[in-house]
Structures are given as C-alpha cells and as structure tokens.
Symmetry: C2
Subunit: 238 residues, 2 copies
C-alpha cells in the first residue's frame, strides 16, 4: 500500500496533466480535499507541498491553490536521471554506442573527483548518444568498483542506472552538478558530429548513494546547438 499523500499527489497531478483542472484553475480548498479523501488536512498539505515543489500549483494565502502547470520537458542532462528515462520522453529516435568500457587506473583528475586513493581502479565507460542519426552527446562515466563490481557492454548499451538500481539494489540519492562550456577535446572531435562548433557544453556530476557515499563521477559533453536545460525555480525568502 502506497502512502496516502503520494497516492493523492499522483491523483492531483493526473487531474492537472489531463486538463481536468486547466491552468489558472483554483483547486478545492485543503479542508474540502481532506474530506473528499477522508484524511487529515496535514496529509493533504503534504501532497500539495509536492505539487508546489514540482511546479504544478502556486499557493496563495487566504485564497487557495492555483494551477500553474505548463508543458514540462528536459533535454538530456544526465547525472541524476538516466539517459534511458530521458530518451523515453523524447520524440526523436535515440541510440547509444559504447566506445570504451574498462576497469582501469584513472587519471589523476578523476581520482580526485571520485575521492579515491591512488592505485585504486575505477570503471570507465565512454558512450556516444546519437539523436536522429547525429552524434550529439559524449558521456564519460566513472564508477567506484567498491559499489559497482561488474559492468558489461550489454549493460552499458542499455541502461547502467537500471542495472544499479534494480540488479544491484543501489539507492541513488542526490547529485552535485556543474554546467560549464569548454573547448572540445580530442575525444569530442573523434566521437561527435561537431559540425564546426568550437565549444561543447559540459555537465559534470558527482552522484551519491542514500548513505551519502560517492560512487560515480560523470561528464556529459553536448554539442552546443542541441543543448537545452530548463528549470523551475522558486524565490526563497528564508
């Protein structure tokens, strides 16, 4: 049995996404919802908090909750969401090409990024993402073998995250990301269809497990014309 507040949250999301409640509609009041779902107001508020965080509604004190949802879609900015998950929401056909997969002694910079002591080996995976037949993204992943003892080309071609979460039972929890623009490296020129572009957009991520251990460092290198990042942000007055 799923938690009440999550069940209610999903039902409300559904009503918004199916336009049962179109944009700028007022939701029923918290008391009404509590009665309707036969629960307490605090539980309803927990569901509404999720709607607020995910950009579906805006609460207005003394008035109520307004639907503000718009089309929402992210372009592949990997790190905490798997490429397979993103690809499933995209229109264009996508393909993954595994270029490199090895357990090796890492370069010094990676050693530092993965916070690993010298001489420890790491998994290095290099993959190209092809979108509509063009090689757009170069993903370089490094895994701490303490958490990821084995990897195969089959896994890398499908979804490493699927494998980690469902086969190994790892619980991925949070990531620290950084987006910068860099000069293309040799590997970028070799593997990507750069079309003369003299920059690539790079998303660098450190990914952590539920117990706060760092297990992955990733660089996702994008051709700039195909890069797009969307965000919903709230102004905080803490």
């Amino acid at each position: 049995m799923m938690q009440k507040y999550l069940t209610i949250y999903h039902e409300l999301v559904n009503r918004i996404e199916t336009d049962y409640w179109p944009e700028s509609t007022m939701l029923p009041s918290e008391n009404e919802l509590a009665t309707k779902y036969d629960t307490s107001r605090e539980t309803i508020r927990k569901s509404l908090d999720l709607l607020v965080q995910n950009g579906y509604i805006q609460k207005i004190r003394g008035k109520g909750s307004v639907v503000i949802s718009k089309a929402k879609f992210n372009f592949p900015v990997s790190g905490i969401v798997s490429f397979k998950e993103l690809a499933s929401e995209m229109q264009e056909p996508v393909k993954t090409l595994v270029k490199e997969l090895a357990l090796m002694e890492p370069e010094e910079s990676v050693q530092k990024d993965l916070e690993i002591s010298a001489k420890e080996k790491v998994w290095k995976v290099v993959r190209v993402r092809e979108i509509s037949g063009e090689k757009i993204i170069l993903d370089k992943d490094y895994f701490n073998p303490h958490y990821v003892p084995d990897l195969t080309t089959e896994i890398a071609a499908d979804s490493i995250y699927d494998y980690l979460e469902h086969e190994l039972g790892l619980k991925i929890s949070f990531a620290r990301k950084e987006i910068v623009v860099e000069q293309p490296t040799e590997a970028d020129r070799k593997y990507l269809d750069l079309n003369g572009f003299s920059n690539v957009v790079v998303i660098k991520s450190k990914v952590y497990l539920e117990d706060t251990s760092l297990f992955q460092y990733t660089e996702s290198r994008h051709r700039p014309d195909k890069f797009r990042f969307v965000e919903f942000a709230r102004r905080v007055h803490n």
Copy 2:
C-alpha cells in the same frame, strides 16, 4: 516573531556552516532536537526538510541525519535571484552599466514572451555586468508596466529587484528558466568583451508574482568561458 521552524532551521544552518557540525557528522535525533528546542517533532521535521532541500543534510531511515554540506556558490545566473545578491557573495569587483532604459513598443517575440497584447508598451532595460574590469554579461530585461509603472537609471544601476520588492511591494514568487547556447547578436558584440568567442550562453527567464501573474521576461547573455552553473539535485522516486 519569526516562525519556530525557520528560526531552528537558521540555527542548524549556522552550526553546519561554521563547522560546529562538520561534514558527515550525525545530527542529534529528531526527538532530541524536539526536546532541546522545546517543540514538537513535526516542527523539527519541518526544519530538517528545509535542510534536506537546500543540500545541507541527508536523512537515512533508521539511522539519522548526516551533514553533507560543501562549499556552495552560484555564478551569476540571474532571473530569480538579483544580480546584486549574487554580486555580494562574489570575490571579484563587479559593476553595472545601464545601456538602455525605455518604455517602448516591444518586438513581436518579446510581446509573446511577456504574454502582452499588441500595442501595449513594456519597459526595456539593457545592462552590462562588468566583472574584474571585463564586460562579461549582457542582461536584457522586459517588464510589464502594469506591475512596474516607473523605472529610472538610478534604480537600474543599483538593483531593480530591491526596488520592486521593497519600494513597490511586489512579491516575486517563481520563475521558469531555460539555458541555451546561441550565436552572439550585434548587441552582444557591441557591448561585451567577447574575446573572439563565437557563442554566448543565454539564460531566458519568465518571472511570476505571488498571484501567478507574469511580470518580467529576461535574457541574461554570458561569455561562455565565464559561465558556470551549479546545482544540487535529488533523485525522485515519486
């Protein structure tokens, strides 16, 4: 009197940022904190939720809350945080140059972005941000005059957000942002020290008030070598 949970949140943030609780320390349990602050556990949990959202701690079921904070700093990515706020956290000297300020009939694209009917005028503000003597960022802001009737060069040179929030009493609430890479425009070439770069990173934002009305559209155009965006992301399993 500030709300209890915010007061407690700030006190906990302070303990983390001053290294009273360094990284990977275990916080006192929720029950201990509730006793210590003479409050209920739910109130403590509200404070801890804020710490989680802002990347200070990670909660582990059955164990406790671990400090995960690292140095946190954002490079000027304007839209929902004012440049003045960002500048105050930066090391380098910054300067704002107002290049244009006028109430005018907007181009068609801006009309659309601001969701304004034809023939309505908008405030257009063009400003250059100089960092360590280099012209790095070009900010183009458009305001709906229904919410922002007056603007002056003095306000634009200092902080428009200060003026909106403290003088006009506007309550800025949320924004939808998009980050893309574009070719430099004529204005970019004219106003910025592009140093031969053939791309600019553009952050486009629509900014909304508490009552969900759209009042501002902004393009913040950055020289790519000085652009940097950092993010803390959680993996959601909703």
